[in-house]
Subunit: 358 residues, 2 copies
């Protein structure tokens, strides 16, 4: 298969983790006789530094022509200090989501057996947890009209029925391929937009009689995610709640450096770690590349390259088992760098049967 991949390393640790994902994708291309080409483009703070704007036209055009977008991270503390600034790095990411209408953000949360002891949660709480979060990504309070003055500010959370319908079908279908359970998270006891979500999702649930639908208030869900994560299969929620719950859910996995995501639209798809720019760690070799590498695996899944994606995941599993991990996870070895983790998974792909430390 030929895939033309736009690479947007972005800010902070974005470039170093993306470099590992590319390395791994190149190994996959070699091993399976695919042709993957990569074209880099600017987004975020680095784009502002060079062009003055966070999402240059050229970047949009490169992404538009590509089959998929591999995204790193966005944001820089130097642009965080002025809450009154009208141009901000994050607009680059939000602009991509809006421009390409990437309305479904999929975030898998898996408690790896080899990492159970890394979590802040007790092992018995999390063992076996496997949650797929479907977060609406192109509407809601992120994109509603905004108003700001020195005396008053407001944001609108608006959902159209069609915004809800399209992701809801995808979420139900995902549940059909898993444990047949869908939990809608909303705040229908307070918000009108949540009541529309509940109405539409209830209606659509009739088309998926083999899936059990549960509705849960977001405050309660934030607690249940911690005290009983195994109750969840697929979680469906709106943009802001999905942002909060998915980052919270990283505690189940043990490190946010492991969480990958796919942002899917009807014509475009973007793949990115859910961690941010983590500027403090930049260029220190300590950034965990696994979230970016697993995002590359989600990219391959998206194009039906399931064996290829599975091989990457095997490589990741093996790196975790053998403690070939960055310091956020490693208590055994203290000098395993970002690059070294990428190299290990690359080697594993080239030689799945031989890669072993022992």
């Amino acid at each position: 298969m030929k895939l033309n991949i736009a690479v947007l390393p972005g800010d902070g640790i974005g470039p170093e983790v993306t470099a590992q994902a590319i390395k791994v994708l190149k190994a996959i291309a070699m091993e399976f006789n695919h042709v993957f080409t990569f074209e880099k483009a600017l987004v975020g703070a680095c784009a502002m530094d060079k062009t003055g704007i966070p999402l240059p036209e050229e970047t949009i055009s490169i992404c538009d022509k590509a089959d998929a977008i591999l995204f790193g991270a966005i944001g820089d503390p130097k642009y965080d200090n002025d809450p009154l600034a009208t141009v901000r790095p994050e607009q680059g990411l939000l602009g991509l989501r809006k421009t390409f209408d990437l309305y479904t953000n999929i975030r898998p949360v898996i408690a790896y057996d080899d990492l159970l002891n890394k979590s802040s949660l007790k092992t018995k709480q999390i063992k076996g947890s496997n949650i797929l979060i479907y977060r609406e990504l192109a509407s809601g309070i992120y994109f509603g009209d905004k108003h700001f003055s020195n005396n008053e500010a407001s944001d609108i959370c608006k959902y159209k029925r069609s915004d809800i319908e399209r992701i809801t079908h995808l979420a139900f279908k995902a549940a059909q391929g898993r444990k047949h359970k869908l939990t809608l998270v909303d705040k229908a006891n307070v918000l009108a937009s949540s009541r529309l979500w509940r109405t539409v999702v209830n209606e659509i649930s009739k088309e998926y009689p083999d899936v059990t639908l549960d509705c849960m208030y977001v405050d309660n869900a934030a607690m249940e995610l911690i005290i009983n994560p195994r109750q969840f299969d697929v979680i469906l929620t709106e943009n802001m709640f999905g942002d909060i719950l998915s980052e919270e859910a990283s505690v189940i996995v043990g490190s946010i450096g492991l969480l990958a995501s796919a942002s899917i639209g009807d014509k475009h798809a973007m793949f990115e770690p859910i961690h941010g720019a983590y500027t403090k760690a930049k260029n220190k070799g300590i950034a965990n590349p696994i979230a970016s590498i697993l995002s590359a695996a989600m990219l391959l899944d998206h194009f039906g390259l399931y064996d290829e994606a599975a091989l990457i995941r095997e490589g990741v599993d093996k790196s975790l088992k053998l403690h070939i991990t960055t310091p956020d996870l490693n208590t055994k070895y203290d000098n395993i760098s970002t690059t070294k983790v990428g190299d290990f998974i690359e080697d594993f792909i080239n030689n799945p049967d031989e890669t072993n430390l022992n």
Copy 2:
């Protein structure tokens, strides 16, 4: 002191837990020669059942004349099934908050040494955690204009500068009496309303040079609360984020049945457990009354009755130490009812030196 307390038991387990708080307040009145009078009123689903509306005029008038309001819980599943209903129990609670302009909701989150093993989190994560959440309660997306049609729905999150200023001063003052640290939780990288929060809180921080101000994005805060709760002293946040984070934070304490809150306005104050109606547990004698009893302690604190409040808290501590607790916390005895916990704390107040199981 004379205190005229409006009691709004509400729905679900509200009445049974509130009864224990009243019992404890009566014991305090006796012991310290105060005169506490209690006047009951309807709110929520039970008010809808009897009067058709969730917050009857009579209830408003009773609360208006009272020195303080003791609130139980609100909501009933029978009103949850129709997302299109225009009258809902929760409007009773929101109506109280708005009518009496109860703009500051204070939620203490404390990891009790005797309960560390009850938490889903590892003991070493939570030991020593002591967080005070200041949640804005009378504005934001809860109260902005709402629009609902079958095809589109929206909510507005609006904040005026003055809404932010008044709670911010209280939060800074609270931090001055504690560990001198305030964390503002917002989503200033996306929301205009959050940027106003950040602007105003930054400005006001200059008046409190002895308090360190930290700003954190809400998604990140949802994770940090779990992986490093001890970093927090006072958390200040807007209405919806406070709802989510405070319920999430209950996992640090070990049971949501322990979390009390105070909702303070310039003229009125209301005290309530943060748990909800928990209808499944109604009338089974298993509802934990401690959140309601600790809310009564916050009521006493509010009127400067610190010794009285402290005595209640000692009684609660003792009940935890001796395992006189409802089943949500108890692994030692399996038949300690809601009433029994209330009785124990009442006895303790009457006879602080003698109450002991041994």
